[in-house]
Amino acid sequence: MNDLELSVAQIVQKEIEITSRPFEKIAKELNLPEAQIIDIINYFCSEGLIRKFGAVLRHQKAGFNKNALVIWSVPELQINKIGEAFASLPFVSHCYERNPAFAGRYNLFTMVHSRDKDIRALVSSMSFLSGIGNFMILKSLQEYKKSSPEYF
């Protein structure tokens, strides 16, 4: 990343203004043409450095008020198949294999979100789908921090 790209990254990792021409604002700040700002962002997207550009929601306020970390004990040979199956479910936002496993056995981690359905019902459907009966639901009792990362 060159200095120019870095200065754009430092701004857009935070936020753009809600205004008619948000990139013009950034352009003025950096003394560059507006089109170049957009080009740099597009370049970051095409390189995969930016995973997503757009609105990041507070899911609780957007109506997804039930969520839990659900962890699964999955045999190593099945982990790809089940990881991909869970990832395809719309109510699963994150799915990772982690090492070391929690409590020596829970190696697949999923975040499950729901608007109105009981989390337990969704988890039961995941258990049925995968054939994995050994899982743990870790409800959040309190949120201490939830923020967007700043890398630059």
């Binding site: 935070k14 809600i18 205004t19 008619s20 962002i41 597009n42 929690f102 921090k145």
Partner: protein
């Protein structure tokens, strides 16, 4: 939130127009004016539904390391532990969960050494030593979008 707000949110999350007047493009898709779109988006920002509009960078692609930690923290040490954890810039999520391992947080660091230094320092500063460090070895899904 009415149907138009929901449509705006889905567009802003999934197909944000990277163009000079992004909200005009959103407005046209929703059949309302740019002015009304800006007003609605600002309102959802003020209400806290929208956390921010901007870039989500891929930490792994940038060569960073991240992990999920679970700590077993005695009740009387929780306040201080949470304070020290939250003060670290690389910590983005921190929750109390219903388990003996009661504090769960994610940390991102520039490299493995920085991460190890943070965890060592955390243990020293708080006296909490039972902290699990569970690295993601495979990412099947990481998706910050919600169908509204």
């Amino acid at each position: 939130m009415d149907e138009i707000d929901k449509k705006i949110l889905n567009i802003l999350q999934k197909e944000f127009p990277l163009t000079a007047q992004p909200f005009l493009v959103v407005a046209e898709k929703c059949g309302i004016s740019e002015e009304e779109t800006l007003k609605r988006v600002q309102k959802m920002k003020d209400e806290g539904i929208i956390r921010r509009i901007g870039a989500v960078f891929d930490g792994a692609k940038l060569g960073r390391v991240s992990t999920l930690c679970a700590a077993r923290v005695p009740e009387d040490k929780i306040d201080n532990f949470v304070k020290v954890v939250n003060a670290h810039k690389g910590v983005t999520h921190n929750y109390r969960r219903d388990h003996d391992y009661n504090i769960w947080f994610t940390v991102s660091a520039a490299n493995a050494d920085e991460l190890a230094a943070f965890l060592n320092n955390l243990k020293e500063k708080t006296g909490v030593t039972d902290i699990l460090d569970m690295r993601a070895v495979k990412t099947f899904k990481i998706n910050a979008s919600f169908d509204i």
